[in-house]
Symmetry: C2
Subunit: 499 residues, 2 copies
C-alpha cells in the first residue's frame, strides 16, 4: 500500500506542474470590473428555455463571444423550434489531447415568489445591501454576490471559460489541449434534445475527456470534482374525487377526498427517514464501493453548519452525501384546493403532486417507471395517462393520472482513478494549492449522461458556484470570489492538464 502511494506521488511529480494561476490572477485583478460587467451582461439575457427567442439571443451572443476568441462555432439544434446548443472548437497545435467542455446557458423558470430583485436585472449585494459596484474603486470584495437567474446555475461556468481564455491570451500562455465546447440551451427543461444532438454529431464532439461544468461546489468552500451524476425521472400524479367541488359538510363524509387520497398515497411511497417504499426500487442499486466510501468519508464535515444555516432540527442521513449512491424520491409539490382568501369549505375535485426520483447507476428510468405504476396498481389505483372520462372515473374506485416528465436521464459514473480524472484533480490541485475533494457521484442530475453514453468518454464534473447559490429557486446568486477562482480553475484545465 505504501509502495502504491509512493508510485502515485512520483507520477504526480513527473507531470508538468506549471499552473497558470498566478498569471491569471494578476490579469483578473487588473480587469475585475470588466469581467464582472461581462458577466452581468450575460446574466441580463433572459434564459428560460420555454421562450425560444430568449435562449436564441443567448446562443447568438455566446457564439460571437467564442468566435472573437478564435473559435469556429456552430449552433446545434434538434429542430428549428428548439433551443440551440452552442458548439465551438479551437485547435492547439501539437496538443495530444482534446477536451470537451460542457456547460448550459439556460436557467430555471423564474416565477417563484420572493425575488428581491428582478431575475434578469442583475445586482451585486454585500449581504442585503445593493452595491453600486461600477462606481466603487479598489478591489471588488470576493464575498459580494451577484444576483440573477443563471448566475450560479450555470452561466458562471460559461463566464469562467471566456475569461480564462482572455487571461491566458493576455499573459501569452498557450493551452495544451485542443478545446471543444458545448453550451446547452435547455438543460433546465431536462435536456430533451441533447442526446439527439450529440448522437448526430459524434465525430464533431469526439474528445478524450469531458469536463462537465455545472452544479455547486462543496459546502466547505473547497474545490470539488465529481465523477458522475444521478439520473432522474419525474412524474405528475393526479387523483380524482367528484367532478365538481362539493360542500364538505354535506358531502365530506360520503364522497372520496382527493386530498386525503393523495396524502395517503404519498405517505405510502416514502417513509419518514427518506426510504422509498416502492417495491423493487432498490433492486438495481449497486452497493457503494470502498473507493466511493473512502471519498465520501474524506469530504469535510459541513453538516452541523448546514443544519444551523437551514434551521433544521433533524436530517434524514448523517452526512449530506450519504444518500447520493441511493435513489431519492422527492415530492416537489402538492396542490389541492384553495387556501387563504379563496379558501372554501369544499371537497376539491382533484389533487395533484409533482415528484421526481433521482436514480443511481444501473437504474433504468423505464424500469423505475414500471415499478411505480405496478406499485400504484397494487394499491388499487386504476392508472391512466390522460384525463380520465366520466365512465372511467365511475367504473373505478380509485383513478390516478400518471404523467411522466419529458427528459428522464440515466445516472453516469466514471471511475475515481481513471487517468483523465486524475489529470483534472492534479491540475485543480495545483491551481488551488490543496488536494481537490472528490465526490463519487453528484446528487443532482444532468442531460450530460446522454453525452457520456453517446461519446463513450470519461467525464469529470467541475463546479465553481457557491453551494448556497439558491439554484432552482428565487434569488439565485453567485459569490463573486467563486467566479474569480473559477477563472483560474478553467485556465488550469486549458493550460495545465496532461495524461
Amino acid at each position: 500500500m505504501k509502495r502504491a502511494l509512493l508510485c502515485l506521488a512520483l507520477v504526480a511529480t513527473a507531470l508538468p506542474a506549471r499552473t497558470p494561476a498566478p498569471d491569471v490572477r494578476s490579469w483578473r485583478q487588473a480587469h475585475e470590473r470588466q469581467v464582472l460587467d461581462d458577466f452581468a451582461k450575460l446574466v441580463a439575457m433572459p434564459n428560460v428555455a420555454t421562450t425560444l427567442a430568449d435562449v436564441d439571443r443567448n446562443a447568438a451572443y455566446l457564439s460571437q463571444q467564442l468566435e472573437s476568441r478564435g473559435f469556429t462555432t456552430r449552433l446545434l439544434r434538434a429542430s428549428e423550434d428548439t433551443p440551440a446548443t452552442v458548439y465551438g472548437e479551437r485547435s492547439t497545435p501539437g496538443a495530444k489531447r482534446t477536451v470537451l467542455f460542457y456547460a448550459h446557458y439556460d436557467g430555471q423558470p423564474v416565477g417563484q415568489k420572493g425575488w428581491t430583485s428582478k431575475p434578469f436585472e442583475p445586482v451585486v449585494r454585500a449581504g442585503d445591501r445593493i452595491v453600486d459596484w461600477r462606481s466603487t474603486s479598489g478591489p471588488i470584495d470576493p464575498d459580494w454576490r451577484i444576483y440573477g437567474r443563471g448566475t450560479g446555475d450555470d452561466k458562471a461556468s460559461v463566464q469562467a471559460m471566456l475569461s480564462a481564455l482572455d487571461a491566458l491570451k493576455a499573459r501569452g500562455i498557450k493551452p495544451n489541449v485542443n478545446i471543444k465546447i458545448i453550451w446547452e440551451g435547455e438543460e433546465e427543461q431536462g435536456s430533451p434534445h441533447l442526446a439527439e444532438i450529440v448522437r448526430a454529431n459524434r465525430e464533431l464532439l469526439k474528445a478524450d475527456l469531458l469536463i462537465m461544468g455545472d452544479g455547486p461546489m462543496h459546502q466547505s468552500g473547497k474545490q470539488m470534482i465529481n465523477f458522475g451524476n444521478r439520473g432522474i425521472t419525474g412524474v405528475r400524479l393526479t387523483v380524482y374525487g367528484a367532478n365538481r367541488p362539493l360542500h364538505d359538510g354535506h358531502y365530506g363524509s360520503w364522497v372520496p377526498s382527493p386530498s386525503v387520497m393523495m396524502a395517503r398515497l404519498l405517505a405510502s411511497m416514502r417513509d419518514d427517514t427518506g426510504q422509498i417504499l416502492i417495491p423493487g426500487i432498490y433492486d438495481d442499486v449497486a452497493p457503494a464501493s470502498a473507493a466511493d466510501r473512502d471519498a465520501l468519508a474524506a469530504l469535510p464535515p459541513i453538516e452541523d453548519d448546514l443544519r444551523r444555516q437551514f434551521a433544521i432540527g433533524r436530517t434524514l442521513t448523517d452526512r449530506l452525501a450519504d444518500g447520493y449512491l441511493q435513489p431519492t424520491l422527492n415530492v416537489r409539490a402538492i396542490h389541492v384546493g384553495d387556501e387563504g382568501p379563496n379558501a372554501a369549505n369544499a371537497v376539491a375535485t382533484e389533487a395533484s403532486a409533482s415528484l421526481d426520483i433521482r436514480l443511481v447507476p444501473d437504474q433504468k428510468p423505464a424500469r423505475v417507471q414500471e415499478q411505480v405504476e405496478r406499485f400504484l396498481t397494487g394499491l388499487g389505483w386504476f392508472v391512466v395517462h390522460d384525463t380520465p372520462d366520466a365512465a372511467t372515473r365511475l367504473a373505478h374506485p380509485k383513478v390516478i393520472r400518471v404523467d411522466w416528465d419529458e427528459g428522464s436521464s440515466e445516472a453516469i459514473k466514471t471511475a475515481l482513478d481513471s487517468p483523465a480524472g486524475l489529470a483534472v484533480a492534479q491540475s485543480i490541485g495545483r491551481t488551488v494549492g490543496y488536494p481537490v475533494l472528490k465526490l463519487p457521484i453528484s446528487g443532482g442530475s444532468s442531460g450530460i449522461a446522454d453525452v457520456v453514453n453517446a461519446l463513450q468518454v470519461p467525464m469529470v464534473g467541475v463546479s465553481i458556484a457557491n453551494f448556497d447559490d439558491n439554484q432552482h429557486a428565487q434569488n439565485e446568486n453567485l459569490r463573486i470570489g467563486n467566479l474569480w477562482d473559477g477563472i483560474e480553475v478553467y485556465a488550469g484545465l486549458l493550460a495545465d492538464m496532461s495524461w
Copy 2:
C-alpha cells in the same frame, strides 16, 4: 303503533289546513320577470364579507326592502367595522306565535378558478346556453338557472321571503304569526359576531320558533327540513423544512421534506374510509337515536344518481347522510411547492394544509382542538401557534404551526317531534302536497348554533336551494323553479302555521 299513527293523522287533520300556495303561485306566475329581476339585482351586489363596504350596501338595500313592506328595521353590529345583521320585525294583530326567520346575505369568496360568468354579474342559463330572459315571452322555464355568488347560498332564502310577503299582500292574505327577521352579513366568515349580537339583543329576538333558511334541499328535489346543524372547527397546519428552497438532487436525501411530512401527517389523521384517527375524537359522540335512524332511512335513495352525476367510483358510506351524526375531518387544501411552468426540482421550505372538522352535538370545539394538538404532540410534533423562529426550528426535529380558524361553532339539534317542528313540517306538507322529508341534522354548519343557544328556541332548518347549486365553489347557481317553490313555502310559513 297503529293507534299512534292514527292519532297523529287526526291531529294533522284538526289543524287549520288552508295553504296560501295556490294564491301565491298565481301571483308569482303573473310577476315572474319582476321577481327574477329583483333577485338578479340582489345577486349583483358583491357580498364577500371581507369587503365591509360591499356587505354594507347589501344591508342598507335589504333594510329598505323590509321597510317598504311594513317592517321596522335595525342594523345590528358587534362594532362599526364589522358587517351588519339586518333585523326587521312586523307584528300581526292577534297572532299567538312569533317566528324568527334567519338567513344570510353574504357569500363565499369568489377567487376560485373556472367561473364561466362573473360572480356578481348574474346570468340565466338553459344548460350551458345563456338566456336573454328579459327579452323572452311566456313562462320562465323553472329548470333554467341563475348563476352568481349567493344565488343558492343564501340570497335565495332572502328573496323567497320578500316575494312571499309581496304575494300575500297582493292576494290579501294575512300572516298568522308575528314576524322577526335576522339576515346575517358574515355567515361565510364563520359568523364571528353573531353570538355577540344575539346575546346583546335577546329580548329583541325572542321568538317561539327559529326558521333557519340556509343550505340545500334534498337531492331528490323534495322539500326537506332539518333539525340542526353540525358544528365546525377549522385549522391551518404548517410544517417546516429548511428555511430556503434547496435543490432536491443535492439535498433531497438529507433535508426533511415538508411535503412528505405533511402527507404522512394527514395520512395519520384520517383513513381511507373517512374514519378519523385522532384518539378521543369519538368519545363525546352520542349514538344515533331510533328516531334519527328512522328519519335517515326514510330519505329517498339518491346515492346512485349522485355517484353518476359526480362520476365517482366509490363512496365512503352507503347513504349520503350516514356520516352526519359523526364528526368528519375534511382536508380542504394542501399546498407545497410550485407546479406547472414554475415547477422546480426543489425541496420546499414549508407545506401547509387547511382542515376542518365537522362536529356533532356534545362535541365541544375547544376539546376537539385539544385532542388534535395532543395527537400532534404524541406524533413528535412541537406545536407552535405563530411563525417559529430559527432557534425553535433548529431545536426540534418536527415543528408544526397550528392556526385555529376564527369562528368555531357547536352543533345544535332540536327534537324531531317538538310541536313547533311538527307545525313547520305540516305547513310545508300542505304547500307542496307531500310529506316533507326530515333530516335529523344537517351535514353543514352554521353560526345559528349561537342564536339557538342564546335564545333557547326550537329551530327548524328550511332549505329551498337546489342541492347542485355549487355553493362554496365557482359557478354557484339557483334553479329558478326552486325560487318559485321557495316563495310558496315561505308564504305558508307566514300564513299557515300554528301550534
